[in-house]
């Protein structure tokens, strides 16, 4: 079983993007960081007790599924859209959603375009090997418009083309657009169009058929989300893990019940996961939130209590 393999190996092999600032990219010191990376670290902390016991495997759109299927990686946390065929036909198991995304467009302000419906005849840069290609084809087909797809391998190169005017618009997940705009010389010169042309629920995934391991990843993610809902933060977690009068917090933090044991982990698993990078909200804020250059609002990714879709199932 994967869980045993990981424990025996002492290192979690986690597949991530080859470089998408905010989500997964090595920094100048060569350490991986980002929103997707934090999920890997949380799982590593939960299972192995060490958030740095992760071997990051950078994967392209093409290689990610084979890497997972063949066992090269234990989990994939690489802004991968949860779709029917990936789940059913490719035999993977999505263990939750860590970011509700949707595909959008960015255009230079000077073009004077304010809606995606005005893009008839435009050249559109697109990172090849993702669902965005299919959504784009569907959207233009549905709206009876022409376009000129300019496929390109990496995000960085697509942005370069967009900046040089080789294409009129760039399309990718809205989160990516925001992240990219942050790197522009004059972010204000570019607008993200209001249309979101697809649903892109992104989440970590594991191989089909190994439910124990799937549960570990799923509930680690849920623990991060629930932690935010219940007010557990990296600042107060040490204090809370002494025991509180909220049964659910106690159950999560292992002072009550034996949830950890059920997962095949020790009682402290969630404490370590949350300590690794904070709760969901903290992770969001640190890597992609409004105070970062990426500057994403919570939007759909707010807790359900605040009108968003983040809704962790109960720990009981």
């Amino acid at each position: 079983a994967t869980l045993d393999d990981v424990k025996a190996r002492g290192v979690l092999n986690c597949g991530v993007n080859t470089g998408l600032v905010g989500f997964a990219a090595p920094n100048a010191e060569g350490e991986w960081e980002g929103f997707d990376v934090a999920v890997c670290r949380a799982v590593a902390a939960a299972v192995l007790g060490d958030p740095s016991a992760v071997e990051f495997v950078s994967l392209t759109g093409k290689t990610r599924f084979t890497a997972l299927a063949s066992g090269e990686i234990d989990m994939l946390s690489r802004n991968t859209t949860w779709t029917f065929t990936r789940d059913v036909d490719l035999k993977f198991e999505f263990t939750g959603i860590n970011y509700y995304d949707g595909q959008g467009f960015i255009v230079p302000r000077e073009l004077g375009v304010s809606s995606a419906t005005e893009l008839d005849g435009a050249s559109i840069c697109i990172q090849t090997g993702t669902t965005t290609e299919l959504n784009l084809a569907d959207y233009f087909r549905k709206n009876n418009m022409e376009y000129d797809p300019v496929p390109i391998e990496t995000n960085a190169e697509a942005l370069q083309l967009y900046n040089e005017g080789s294409c009129d618009a760039y399309t990718t997940d809205a989160s990516g657009l925001a992240a990219s705009r942050a790197t522009f010389e004059n972010p204000g010169d570019h607008v993200i169009l209001p249309e979101i042309i697809s649903k892109e629920p992104l989440g970590p995934l594991v191989r089909h058929g190994d439910n124990e391991w799937g549960d570990v990843v799923r509930w680690t993610l849920n623990a991060l989300i629930a932690a935010e809902e219940l007010g557990i933060t990296s600042a107060n977690i040490d204090e809370l893990s002494q025991g509180t009068n909220s049964p659910e917090i106690n159950r999560i933090l292992g002072t009550e019940g034996n949830l950890g044991e059920m997962l095949g982990l020790d009682p402290d698993w969630a404490v370590r996961a949350i300590k690794a990078g904070g709760n969901y909200g903290e992770i969001f804020a640190r890597h992609i939130g409004e105070s970062t250059p990426i500057g994403l609002a919570r939007g759909l990714n707010a807790q359900w209590t605040e009108g968003g879709l983040m809704y962790a199932p109960p720990f009981r």
């Binding site: 093409k62 063949s70 005849g121 050249s123 290609e133 784009l136 300019v150 370069q160 009129d168």
Partner: protein
């Protein structure tokens, strides 16, 4: 000498111990062992494959090729839209591969021959310059060249928006060619009634040029009179076509590209990715071809030139009658394998988003369907067919021109 009716060499009866000791049967023993090992190895791989597929609940099937591809391809030589099948998408890619390979080979040949010949020039500067070109391009990976040329184009050429407005930053060359960082837009010919005749005349004059050249040679052979070749050929090629063109009221006109909406419309767009790939491959391969050409010319021994000179032939005739025919035999086989390399290198199209077969079948299709084994297998099959075809052609050529020996 020996009559064919001589008895066939007789055979000897077989004993088991001969399997190891007898020169005639040892071979069979080794081959049997080798075959056995190979079969075992293959079986091992196959068995792993089956187990892996079962473990992952997958199978091998090519059905996905019949399903809608649902992605768009920007350069299509045959009609295609996102509702067509993956098979058709793959085919669009195949044609794009062949297109860039063809363009690349032609350009590389021109560059290579030029550089190869000039490198042997007596002009020191030119020879050094060509040596510089050859060395620079041979010694840097082609992938880097593709990327450099691609980014040079996107960075150095203006975007179409620069052509907009009353006082644009850029303007079209002759009002007909637009060089943009999305590619080059050139006029498209429009064939009206009568254009077929012009084309026919042109083809006829092509034939006429060959006929004239044959006639000139024949005249030399018959009477010893040598007609000029160059100018008359050119005249025969151009003049009748021009006459027909104007006589029929200019039936072929050009549709100029024009900036409408986001892009230039009408005309033909030669995409930037195609140009980058095409030029990078051509310049890179051209450097290799230049070396082949140089080696070919140098392979003709000096004695041949001397013998021809001693017979009184002039340098130009020595070149065309003695050196070139011999050098070509040496040059053509390696040049053909350079063509093969170029075709294989065109699979790097993926680096600049040119939608060749590696980009469609081996790229988006593979990605969207997750059918890795099947896609990669088909992809390899395609390249294998291409290279086997090219080698077959090369063998035919080699056999055709092989110098007759004893």
């Amino acid at each position: 000498m020996a009559s064919v009716t001589d008895p066939e060499p007789p055979r000897e009866s077989f004993r088991l111990s001969m399997l190891l000791n007898d020169t005639r049967y040892r071979g069979y023993t080794f081959q049997f062992i080798a075959l056995l090992l190979l079969i075992l190895f293959m079986a091992y791989l196959g068995w792993n494959l089956v187990r892996n597929l079962v473990d992952q609940g997958q199978d091998i099937s090519f059905e996905f090729m019949g399903q809608p591809a649902s992605y768009d391809i920007n350069q299509r030589l045959i009609p295609y839209d996102s509702q067509d099948t993956h098979l058709r998408a793959a085919f669009v890619g195949v044609l794009n591969t062949l297109l860039v390979a063809f363009l690349g080979c032609v350009t590389a040949t021109v560059l290579g021959v030029l550089a190869g010949v000039l490198r042997l020039s007596k002009n020191w500067l030119v020879a050094k310059l060509m040596a510089f070109y050859v060395e620079i391009f041979r010694n840097v990976p082609v992938l880097i060249w593709i990327l450099i040329i691609f980014f040079v184009m996107t960075a150095a050429l203006p975007a179409p928006s620069a052509f907009r407005g009353d006082d644009p930053d850029s303007s079209m060359l002759f009002g007909a060619f637009a060089f943009t960082n999305r590619g080059v837009y050139v006029p498209r010919p429009i064939w009206e009634a009568g254009s077929a005749i012009v084309v026919a005349v042109f083809l006829a004059s092509l034939v006429a040029v060959f006929a004239y050249r044959r006639y000139a040679t024949k005249l030399l052979y018959d009477t010893g009179r040598l007609l000029p070749m160059g100018w008359p050929s050119l005249a025969i090629l151009i003049v009748p076509t021009l006459l027909a063109f104007f006589a029929l009221g200019q039936p072929i006109s050009l549709e100029y590209p024009e900036l409408r909406g986001f892009n230039f419309q009408d005309g033909i767009q030669v995409r930037g990715s195609l140009i980058a790939l095409w030029f990078a491959l051509a310049i890179y391969t051209g450097a290799f071809i230049a070396e082949n050409v140089r080696a070919g010319i140098m392979s003709v021994s000096h004695g041949q030139t001397e013998a021809a000179a001693a017979l009184g032939l002039r340098p130009r005739r020595i070149m065309s009658l003695v050196i070139l025919p011999q050098a070509l035999r040496v040059v053509i086989p390696p040049v053909i394998s350079q063509y093969l390399n170029l075709t294989k290198n065109s699979s790097l199209a993926i680096a600049v988003g040119y939608m060749d077969v590696t980009g469609t079948l081996g790229g988006i299709t593979l990605n969207q369907t997750g059918r890795a084994i099947e896609s990669v297998m088909l992809l390899m099959l395609f390249y294998l067919v291409i290279s086997l075809t090219i080698s077959a052609v090369m063998n035919l050529y080699n056999n055709a021109v092989k110098l007759k020996e004893r």
